[in-house]
């Protein structure tokens, strides 16, 4: 048998290595990586922190995937599919890092992604909402990727070498995502009256969720320099947003931030109803067929 054709390999089940139904050839994305937790880092907190960064990417990736077949142009659809794929890859590594740091959480990333309830998810609330239109898609992508890039430019120096390595890989991806979104925000803001109006309305709609991104969570504070303090990301975030908004002739919204519920927000598992809708779709196949392989 000739084995040079990758497509033949994909089509044939050549050994007992069955593939999970919920991913392609699911294997540990940190296979062979030294995942021991540094002595002076609390393993349980590190796991919780990894879940926060992983859940942001997982939930947002799913929301972006919902745009597939709905985009205005094929080129934009390909772009969003690739952004979603990058984020899914980041999510897998963070969730796996959580499992390796604290194996009592779950057996593997699959368990964490598909079998947790909404209140166990640690993502910020900004990423769980469906975009109302294309302007909201690029506005949210600009905010999320600018914020995440600013965080990861610090996280790449984390005392945990695994988080540092994941962040170092992700910064270059996030820079591509941010620049893509920024160009569209400027294009729409500086376009027709209608596109300008819709871009401004989109920013106003997502703005209540922005302040939450920069609130330091007790877990982040306790982890010290193993984590990246989101409060430090505010200044670089504002600088980028100001540049983009000015170039697009757009106003920084003044919408009041969404409040906490009993002092809790997304990082504490307090979500809007939108997260339940994401999970209902994302988790349904895994829960209906928990042992399925293909």
């Amino acid at each position: 048998m000739h084995d040079d054709n990758a497509y033949d390999l994909l089509a044939e089940n050549l050994d007992d290595h069955h593939r999970w139904a919920f991913g392609t050839g699911f294997v540990d994305p940190l296979e062979g990586v030294d995942t021991s937790v540094p002595d002076d880092v609390d393993a349980s907190m590190l796991a919780t922190y990894s879940l926060m960064l992983g859940d942001d990417a997982l939930v947002y990736s799913h929301r972006l995937q919902q745009w597939i077949t709905r985009m205005p142009e094929l080129e934009e659809e390909t772009a969003i599919a690739n952004v979603a794929l990058d984020l899914l890859g980041q999510a897998r590594m963070f969730l796996t890092r959580a499992v390796k740091a604290d194996p009592s959480r779950a057996d593997d990333e699959d368990r964490l992604a598909f079998f947790r309830e909404a209140h166990e998810f640690r993502n910020v609330r900004l990423v769980e909402h469906a975009d109302g239109d294309f302007a909201e898609l690029v506005g949210r992508l600009l905010v999320v990727s600018t914020w995440r890039l600013a965080l990861f430019e610090r996280l790449r120096w984390s005392r945990d070498p695994v988080l540092a390595a994941i962040a170092a890989r992700a910064v270059n991806e996030l820079a591509y995502h941010r620049d893509y979104a920024a160009r569209w925000v400027v294009t729409l803001g500086d376009g027709t009256d209608l596109s300008h109006h819709r871009m401004q309305a989109a920013l106003t709609a997502i703005w209540p969720y922005v302040d939450e991104l920069f609130t330091t969570h007790p877990v982040e504070r306790a982890l010290g320099d193993a984590a990246a303090d989101p409060a430090m990301a505010r200044e670089p975030f504002d600088a980028v947003l100001d540049t983009v908004l000015t170039a697009g002739g757009l106003e920084r919204p003044t919408t009041a931030p969404l409040g906490l519920l009993n002092g809790r927000a997304g990082r504490d598992g307090m979500h809007t109803e939108s997260l339940g809708l994401v999970l209902a779709e994302m988790q349904s196949v895994a829960r209906a067929h928990p042992e399925a392989t293909w």
């Binding site: 772009a79 170092a168 591509y176 540049t243």
Partner: protein, 170 residues
């Protein structure tokens, strides 16, 4: 079939290095810089690979292919490990790999940018002088920042009018 006893230290590397990339089968994983190391001790082989992008879906297939090729060559104990530090760079694509990409109509990447502590915002479309891999013209325009995979962008040649892909610098 070569048996483990008959192999030399160099051959395990050569076998692993010949594995084609599933997405770009005209180049091998060694050409792309995905294969980082192959160590052999007493017939036990440890091959180390690194993902290009975080979400690269080809990693499990590459690991599977490397393991199968080594096992067929007689190595009974094969371990494929992942390395994520330092992150892959398009600068690791070999000269040979770049020629093979160009021969297949895919423009190879420029040097990756040196990055400071913050990555500067690029509000204008990325300007690169990319030569058309078919006719050599530099009258080319970028048509999309993302193509069939995250690692490629789409271009069009204004002289020969052919669209082509460019492997992005990362």
């Amino acid at each position: 079939m070569v048996t483990a006893a008959g192999t030399t230290a160099g051959s395990a590397f050569d076998i692993a290095a010949a594995t084609p990339d599933p997405e770009l089968p005209m180049v091998t994983i060694a050409d792309l810089g995905i294969l980082r190391a192959v160590e052999e001790h007493d017939g036990r082989v440890v091959a180390t690979i690194t993902p290009t992008y975080s979400g690269c879906p080809a990693m499990p297939e590459i690991a599977h292919d490397v393991r199968r090729r080594l096992e067929r060559a007689g190595f009974t104990e094969v371990v494929v490990r992942t390395s994520i530090d330092p992150p892959w760079s398009s600068d690791w694509i070999t000269d040979n790999g770049r020629h093979k990409l160009a021969d297949a109509g895919i423009a190879p990447p420029h040097s990756a940018p040196t990055r400071g502590p913050t990555t500067l915002l690029q509000l204008r479309p990325t300007r690169r002088l990319v030569a058309c891999p078919r006719c050599g013209s530099t009258q080319t325009v970028r048509t999309a920042d993302f193509a069939a995979t995250a690692c490629r962008a789409l271009y069009r040649c204004d002289d020969c009018r052919e669209p082509f892909e460019y492997v992005k610098e990362l």
